[in-house]
Structure formats: structure tokens, C-alpha cells
């Protein structure tokens, strides 16, 4: 999942006035200050352990949470004359009609026929033809193979449903996001308004808004599309507006001098010039949409998420594995086709394409003819309408399940002692300090650390976020969640440092590992959860392992790219000065890639936070459980919504602290 794309200039203007502490030159190194804070905090936590921790009962709903819950229930019982609800149900109806039209066309039986309007062969041919048209013949074969595999693995209908929900959501995201991106590029006011909104949209864990959306849009495809759009809108807005703002000034001035109108400037100059960047944005949005569309299975969103959720309920790793593969295939297909499409268009325009116009036209006519014949046949003959069948999926699923069963039968003693030992040695110790101290001690401790590493701006953000969490009355659970997030993020960074540095230094390692990371990023998060759950049972450790697996690929890639970007001249200079490999890594490459490490930490924390909520599904408790329970139980809705907001506040706080810390690091090293 390549979401959470930050604007590339997140750390812009390193020359911006450095924070006062840095200017006066710290008298005591910051690391000692931080260590001092931690020592005091630990002592206080031991002395006042268990006092004023603000723990509330597991199913209790208190104060402001009741108020939130009542408002949510008002929505359900509000009479249909309510303008807002009429609007949302109108939107839901339109979306439902669109999705159903597509489903009858390619995925669900168009009664009385047992097959959709266009059967399997027809859909395959159309996909092949259009991919060839926009992305070249190589990609078209790849697409056809993917479609054949969806069918041979036994998930053709679910795959088509996922494709429909994803493409409709991406279409809407682009339709809404592109005009807003233009606005953001041209007006700093719009930028100031939208940036924090986009930040929240990206840190909001998806589970937290499944509930409010379900109340507004009901269950099913419309709500699935809306939540997918919310999740996938930020990348296209951020990246496009960034692209539009960074166009060559001279080209704009030259065309301005010819007296163009604002509209001409936008449509004839700016948009075409920023086209490459915009396509990158759409590509990122597509990837985000794909991952969210699978989570939407919890509100009956159609697609491959459904078999995965069923497998989670039945604890069948094998059953989740095969649809998981289909999702990864779909992700790779959409990613490569959109990327190839932008390159292919460029090539054709510059006349660099190898095929001549005549050959291209011949292909077009022949291809169209073949496609039309396939579509015709798939409407009229069972053999062409019926998806190809094979036992491939079943065999694969069986093999994976057998393997997992063997491991859990033979290693269950070992796995549970690993889990118990780790929990006692690390998680419980940290939780003792964070969640076991009086709330104000923890709050001051976090604030002090934020000030030390991130400066006064991080401090302000921390105060606001902690006050919000306190107000929502889920303080204790928020601190338990924070514990899991910090532990998981620590392990993500260890992995990122080890594997990332290795990949950054060795071409071979990079080439071998990167495809695995790509695949890992596109798997929907609960596919990870199932095998870990089978091995370690319903524990916080399970949630942490799954979160590390989920967040590590992104962090590793960022570190690898950062190490690679260190100029080879510097490294060679160090080598010729006789530095050992270990010295080159620790004294040259890692310090010079410091900002990559900072970005990796930031992204690692946010990814981990998103996954920890899903861990609430399987015994990890705390805020994640509150969100899930609020979604599933009527009488704790208020608490669930409050937990969702609390997670957002935690996310914003961690994001601000790490972002400001990274900027300070940069301004000091420059």
C-alpha cells in the first residue's frame, strides 16, 4: 500500500528561521536531556503506579462519549425529511445504480442468464484491447494473463467487483481531486485549508470512518465507494498540486506574454506540462483505493475483501491466501498499466514507438475485430461466457493451510513462549510507564520529549492532541495503544536500518528484495493478520507483529533510496582514505541519509498506527478494540467514535513530532 504520500517538499525551506534552542546552541546534548526526562518519568511511574490512570471499564461509555453516541443514533432515527440525510441517500442511490450497472455488465449474473452481460472471454478481450491501445502490447499480454489468473484461481466475480469499486472510486477521486488540486496550486489560502484536512484524512484509520459512513450511506457498495474515495483522494490532490506549482517559470512567462487568458493558461499550458506528475498522483490514488476497497468488505462492499474477511472469521490462512494473491495481481496490473500508459503516450507523441503508423492501424483493426468477436461469443455461448476453471486455487490454499497447521501443531509451544517472553520483557514494561502512571505525569513526559526532539511547534501540537485525547475520556486506552505503536515502530526502524542499508549498498540485494516489498505493500492488512494470529493467538504481540510486517516495506524502501542517494563521490573519497565498510556505513552513509531515516520513522509510525487498530479485531484491545466494538455494537457507538478521534489525535501528534524533529535535524546539518 503506497498511501500516505507526503508532499515531496514536506521539509521545505531548511533555511527557515531555526528554532531558538538551536540558535543559542544547546548547552546539554539533547539525548541527555531526553534520557533525564525518561529517568524522572520512570521513577514517578513507580512511585505513583496505578493512581489517576483514568482507566474505564471495558464496556462503559462515559461523559462526552454518550453525547457522541446519541448524536450518531439521532442520525439513524432522523426522519427522512432531514435535508442532509436526503442528500446522502440520494448520493447512495446514484452510486448504487452506477455500480450495479457495471456489475451486471461484467461480474454478476444478468438474470435470467447465469452469466453477466459480457462473459469472461469478452471481458478478457476488452481488457486486452484497451491495455494494448494505451500501454502497448507487452502490457496487454500481462493484463490478459492477470484476468486469466483471476478466473483460474477461482475468484473471477470478486475480482471484477473489486475492479469496479476501485475504478469508480478512482474516477470520483480524480473528478473531485483535480479541480481542488488546481485551486490548491493557485491559492495559498486553499492550501492552508486543505493541507491539514488531507493530513487527517490520511492518518484516520479506515475502521474509524466505516461506522459514520455506514450510518449515513447504509451498507453495501455506495458506502464502500465513499470510504474508498475518502482514503484515496489525498494522493492525487497533493501530488497534482505539487506538480502544478513546480512548473518551469520561463515557460509560463513566455506563454503569458502572448496574452493568454487564465483558462487557456491552465488547460493549454499548466495541465499538459504537469501531466506526468498528475499521472503519478492517479497511480498512487489507485493503489490506495485498492487497499481500502478490500477493507470495505466489513460494510458489505463487494469484491475480494469478502473472501478475506470470511477467512479471517474461519481462521483459514489458506482461504485468505488465494484472494490475497488476486489482490496483489490486481495491484501490480493497475500500477504497471497506469505507469506504462503515461510512458507509452509520450513515446507515441515523440514518434519513438517502434511500430509504424501503418502497423499500428493494422493492429487496431485486427484487435478490434477479434475483441468484437469475443464479446459476441461471450454473450451467446456458454463456453465463452463461463470463467475458466481449474483446481489451482484450491490446491494452493490447501498447501498453505497444511503448512500453517503443521507449524502451529509443532511449534505452538515455541511461538507462545516467544510471544509471552516478549510481552513481559518489552510491551508490559513500556505500558507500565506510559499507561500505569498518573495521566498528568505521562502527559508532561510526552510533552517534554516532544519539546526536546521537535522544538516548540511540536510542543504546541502535542499539547493540543493530548488535551483532545483527555477530553474524549479514553486516556488509558490511548496510552496502551501508543505503547504498541512505539514498540512496533521501533522494530520497523531496526528492520529498515538493516535491510534498507543493505539494499542501498548492493544492487543485487535491491533487485531481489524490492519486488517482495512491493507485493507486501499491496496486500490488504488483514491478510497479514491471519497467519500471525494462527501462530501467536489473540494478543498484543500478534497485533505488533502484523503491524511490523505491514509497515516495514515502506520504511525499508525509503531508507534504501536515501542510502542510494548519497553521492558516490563522497563514498569513494572515504574508501580511498582507507575507511572500513562499517565506518563508511556508520560515519558517511547513514548520517548523510539522515532525512530519509526521519521520513521512514514518520511513515513507519503512521502505518503501524493504522494496523494497530485492525489488531483490535483479534485481542489487542485498547483503542483498536473500541473502534471495532463501536462499529459492531449499537450501545458503544459513542465510545467507538471517540476512540476513532483519539487515534487521529495520536496520529497527528506523532506525525508533527517526527516531522519537526526531521526539519531541525536538517537545518542543523546544513
Amino acid at each position: 500500500m503506497t498511501t500516505l504520500t507526503r508532499e515531496p517538499e514536506a521539509a521545505e525551506n531548511p533555511s527557515e528561521s531555526p528554532p531558538p534552542e538551536a540558535r543559542s546552541g544547546p548547552r546539554i546534548p539533547r539525548i541527555w536531556l531526553a534520557a533525564g526526562v525518561i529517568v524522572v518519568w520512570v521513577i514517578l511511574s513507580i512511585v505513583f503506579h496505578g493512581k489517576k490512570t483514568l482507566e474505564i471499564g471495558g464496556a462503559d461509555q462515559v461523559g462526552v462519549q454518550n453525547w457522541i453516541g446519541d448524536r450518531a443514533n439521532d442520525l439513524v432515527v432522523a426522519d427522512s425529511g432531514n435535508f442532509f440525510l436526503r442528500l446522502t441517500s440520494g448520493i447512495a442511490d446514484v452510486l448504487d445504480a452506477i455500480i450495479q450497472w457495471f456489475q451486471l455488465l461484467i461480474s454478476t449474473p444478468a438474470f435470467p442468464s447465469p452469466y453477466p452481460e459480457i462473459g469472461f472471454l469478452g471481458v478478457l478481450a476488452v481488457a486486452w484491447f484497451f491495455t494494448a491501445l494505451v500501454a502497448g502490447w507487452r502490457m496487454s499480454i500481462f493484463t490478459a494473463v492477470c484476468f486469466a489468473l483471476f478466473s483460474l484461481l477461482g475468484f473471477y466475480e470478486d475480482s471484477m467487483d473489486l475492479l469496479i469499486v476501485t475504478l469508480v472510486s478512482v474516477g470520483l477521486s480524480v473528478l473531485v481531486g483535480l479541480p481542488l488540486a488546481v485551486l490548491m496550486a493557485h491559492s495559498w489560502r486553499a492550501r492552508a485549508v486543505f493541507t491539514p484536512v488531507l493530513d487527517v484524512m490520511q492518518t484516520l484509520p479506515s475502521f474509524a470512518y466505516l461506522l459514520p459512513l455506514m450510518l449515513l450511506f447504509g451498507i453495501g457498495a455506495p458506502a464502500a465507494v465513499i470510504c474508498t474515495v475518502i482514503y484515496s483522494l489525498p494522493p492525487v490532490m497533493r501530488i497534482s498540486s505539487h506538480g502544478l506549482r513546480n512548473l518551469s517559470e520561463s515557460a509560463l512567462e513566455a506563454t503569458d506574454s502572448m496574452g493568454q487568458t487564465g483558462w487557456q493558461r491552465l488547460t493549454k499550458v499548466e495541465l499538459p506540462m504537469a501531466k506526468r506528475t498528475i499521472i503519478v498522483g492517479i497511480n498512487q490514488t489507485t493503489m490506495a483505493a485498492l487497499s481500502m476497497a478490500t477493507i470495505a468488505a466489513f460494510i458489505n462492499g463487494p469484491g475480494l475483501g469478502q473472501p478475506v474477511v470470511r477467512a479471517l472469521n474461519a481462521l483459514r490462512v489458506g482461504d485468505a491466501f488465494v484472494p490475497g494473491i488476486c489482490i496483489v495481481l490486481m495491484a501490480i496490473m493497475l500500477d504497471r498499466v497506469t505507469t506504462a500508459a503515461s510512458e507509452h503516450g509520450e513515446k507515441l507523441r515523440r514518434g519513438q514507438a517502434r511500430d509504424t503508423a501503418a502497423r499500428r492501424n493494422l493492429f487496431l483493426l485486427l484487435g478490434a475485430a477479434v475483441t468484437i468477436v469475443c464479446v459476441y461469443m461471450s454473450r451467446h455461448y456458454v463456453f465463452a461466457a463461463k470463467p475458466w476453471e481449474s483446481s489451482l486455487g484450491d490446491k494452493l490454499s490447501e498447501a498453505v493451510q497444511t503448512g500453517i497447521d503443521w507449524i502451529s501443531d509443532n511449534w505452538s509451544g515455541a511461538t507462545s513462549s516467544v510471544s509471552d517472553g516478549f510481552t513481559a520483557a518489552i510491551i508490559n514494561k513500556l505500558e507500565y510507564v506510559l499507561a500505569g502512571s498518573p495521566w498528568f505525569v505521562t502527559a508532561l513526559g510526552i510533552l517534554a520529549i516532544a519539546l526536546i526532539v521537535g522544538g516548540w511547534r511540536a510542543g504546541v501540537a502535542t499539547v493540543i492532541c493530548l488535551a483532545g485525547i483527555r477530553y474524549l475520556e479514553l486516556w488509558n486506552n490511548a496510552m496502551i495503544t501508543l505503547t504498541s505503536v512505539l514498540v512496533a515502530a521501533l522494530f520497523v526502524m531496526i528492520l529498515a536500518a538493516v535491510i534498507g542499508v543493505w539494499m542501498g549498498r548492493s544492487q543485487g540485494a535491491d533487485r531481489a528484495i524490492r519486488p517482495l516489498l512491493d507485493a507486501g505493500q499491496t496486500m490488504p492488512p488483514f491478510v497479514y493478520l491471519i497467519p500471525v494470529l494462527a501462530l501467536f493467538g489473540p494478543t498484543r504481540f500478534t497485533a505488533i507483529v502484523a503491524a511490523v510486517a505491514y509497515a516495514a516495506p515502506a520504511a525499508i524502501k525509503i531508507v534504501a533510496d536515501g542510502i542510494k542517494a548519497v553521492s558516490s563521490a563522497t563514498v569513494e573519497a572515504a574508501e580511498s582514505a582507507g575507511a572500513l565498510t562499517i565506518q563508511i556505513i556508520t560515519k558517511v552513509q547513514v548520517p548523510m541519509a539522515r532525512s530519509a531515516f526521519a521520513v521512514a520513522t514518520n511513515q513507519g509510525l503512521l502505518y503501524v498506527l493504522a494496523m494497530v487498530v485492525i489488531g483490535g479485531l483479534v485481542g489487542a484491545g485498547a483503542l483498536g478494540y473500541d473502534v471495532v466494538a463501536g462499529f459492531k455494537q449499537l450501545d458503544t457507538r459513542g465510545r467507538g467514535l471517540a476512540a476513532g478521534f483519539s487515534i487521529v489525535l495520536l496520529g497527528v501528534m506523532l506525525d508533527r513530532i517526527t516531522t519537526y524533529a526531521a526539519r531541525r535535524g536538517e537545518s542543523r546539518s546544513s
Binding site: 438474470f111 476488452v126 493467538g537
Partner: protein, 318 residues
């Protein structure tokens, strides 16, 4: 314009026309779609325990194959299913466990759904331990002795107390309140699903590991491992009226069907089947066992049972 420039639009247009024009519509009608059926769509909510899955697929396969309905299985959580009554996403909930608050809201206040009668089964919810524990600690089945044994049930997740393992966070449960109101030294930990509960009890029995957990019947697993129920203070009418103050055992749940009013008004054929559907614990457990232990798909499992029980099925279809 040269002819050449027209080729691309013609080719693309041709494909689009062929794909999108409904006029050329499909004419594949397989025998399975019995013509002239009066049944329209039937959207059955499928909640996440396997007994429910057995109900849903037996009714669904019958509706599909014998009545010619278009059956959609809507996989959603228990309480979320109700949200679908008003919008038509869900027509039928086949196995409702109590939920007076939902009946208040959706049947009485919003008037979008109604009761469609019993399915012939009474549900039981309670706390259970694996049979080896009853043999070794005979008095463990009295709730008053639970605190004595709480050390046995400690886990990494229970924070020094005993662990009470619950199922899916969406299942009917008073366990948090019970632990508090009965002053038990336990912490509720959610396993996340029925399958996770079963796995915990199965390995608890096999490895003689202490497990105290939420469970229910009818459940096919009770035939594989006869879990022993712990007696909580007996249920009395009204003792569970305030969810925060519950201090008694769960009531017996006469499991019943809920249908949306929209569905009752529009579809007499499908509704009649749903209304007549009624079977026993034994029937449900058998189908559930086909699905879980025997690894059959829910469709095949339901079909096997339908083929083996023509009398019962015919009575529903009359």
C-alpha cells in the same frame, strides 16, 4: 482528414458499441433459471458464526434452486445487518439472538422490519471450560469459586488477572458487566471470532491448558469437545434490563427470524419459505459440521442436507 486518422476512433468505437449496447443482449438461459418464477431477489444476511451460515445456505439454496429466486448472501455482522433493512440491502436475518434494543429501534420506532417466527432452536450463551478442568477441579463450575482459580487463567494479555476469552466483538455479550458486578478477578479478552474460540478450547483440551471462555449452543464443536458450562447466578426476568448492572446468567434465547417489511410486501414466494423455515439443533449442527470439519463449501453442505431430508424441505415449500 485522412482515412488513417479515422481508424483508431472506428476501432475503439466498435469495441465499445459491441460491449455496451444492450440490444445484442445475452441469450444464454441455462436450465437452472426456472422460467415463470414469481420469486424476485432474496438478500440473506450471513452473520459470522457457522450455525447461522448453515441456516442461511439451506434457505438460500432452496430459494435459488426450487423457487428460482436470485439469492444474495450478504456477509455482515449481527447488528450491522439491521442497518440494511431500510435500504433493501438485507431482506432477512435468519437467526436473531435477543437484541431487544434493535427490535425497539427497527421494528417499533422505524417500522422497517418485523418478526417472522421461530427457527425451532433455543440458543444458550454462557461461560465454559474444557472437560479436563471439570475432572481436575470439580467445583470450578460454580461461579463463586472462579476467583479461587483465577491464577490458572492468567495470560500475557490479562494484566495479572484471570483471562475470560470472548468471541467476536460483535457477539451478544454482558461479560464486561458480569465480571465487574460479580467482583470477579478476571479480564475480558476478545479472541475475535468463533473460529479463534474453538481453536483456544480445542488446544486447551488437548494440551490440558486452562481456558475459560464465552461459548454457546447450538454449536457443532460441543460434539467434538463437550465443554462444561459454568453456572452463573441464575437468570431472573429483568435482571439484565440495565446492561451496566447485569449480575445474572444469560437468558435462554428463542432464536427467531426478522424480515424487512419491504420484502414481506413485495415477495410472497420467498417470504413463505423464510416464514416456514424451522429445524432443530441437530440439523443445524450437522450442516455446520459439513462446513467446518469436513471442509465442504456452504453451498455443497446445504445441498447435501437438502438431498438427505426431502420431507422436511417439502414441508417448508408447501
Amino acid at each position: 482528414m485522412k482515412l488513417q486518422n479515422w481508424i483508431a476512433p472506428i476501432a475503439v468505437g466498435g469495441v465499445l458499441l459491441a460491449a455496451l449496447l444492450p440490444g445484442v443482449g445475452s441469450n444464454i438461459n441455462e436450465a437452472s433459471a426456472s422460467t415463470g418464477s414469481k420469486c424476485g431477489e432474496l438478500n440473506i444476511a450471513v452473520n459470522n458464526w457457522v450455525g447461522y451460515e448453515a441456516d442461511a445456505f439451506v434457505v438460500g439454496e432452496l430459494a435459488k434452486k426450487r423457487l428460482g429466486c436470485i439469492v444474495n448472501y450478504v456477509y455482515v455482522d449481527e447488528q450491522i445487518s439491521w442497518q440494511g433493512f431500510a435500504s433493501g440491502q438485507v431482506d432477512v436475518v435468519l437467526e436473531n439472538w435477543g437484541h431487544p434494543e434493535l427490535i425497539d429501534l427497527y421494528v417499533k420506532k422505524l417500522k422497517v422490519a418485523q418478526d417472522a417466527g421461530s427457527i425451532g432452536i433455543t440458543g444458550v450463551i454462557g461461560w465454559y471450560v474444557p472437560p479436563w478442568m471439570k475432572k481436575k477441579y470439580p467445583d470450578i463450575t460454580n461461579w463463586k469459586n472462579l476467583n479461587k482459580y483465577s491464577d490458572l487463567f492468567k495470560t500475557s494479555e490479562s494484566g495479572g488477572k484471570g483471562q475470560l476469552l470472548d468471541g467476536d466483538p460483535g457477539f451478544v455479550t454482558n461479560d464486561e458487566a458480569l465480571v465487574k458486578n460479580l467482583d470477579l478477578n478476571y479480564k475480558v479478552v476478545f479472541a475475535g471470532s468463533e473460529a479463534a474460540l474453538i481453536q483456544a478450547f480445542r488446544s486447551g483440551e488437548k494440551n490440558k491448558k486452562p481456558v475459560l471462555g464465552y461459548f454457546y449452543s447450538p454449536q457443532w464443536f460441543l460434539a467434538e469437545v463437550p465443554l462444561v458450562k459454568v453456572d452463573l447466578p441464575p437468570y431472573k426476568e429483568g435482571c439484565d434490563a440495565d446492561p451496566a448492572k447485569v449480575d445474572c446468567d444469560y437468558p435462554p434465547y428463542p432464536l427467531h427470524k426478522i424480515v424487512s417489511n419491504q420484502f414481506v410486501d413485495s415477495d410472497t414466494t420467498g417470504y413463505k419459505l423464510v416464514k416456514n423455515f424451522k429445524w432443530s439443533d441437530k440439523d443445524q449442527n450437522l450442516v455446520a459440521k459439513y462446513i467446518t470439519s469436513d471442509g465442504m463449501t456452504p453451498e455443497d453442505a446445504a445441498q447435501k442436507w437438502i438431498d438427505d431430508n426431502p420431507d422436511k424441505v417439502d414441508a417448508w415449500l408447501k
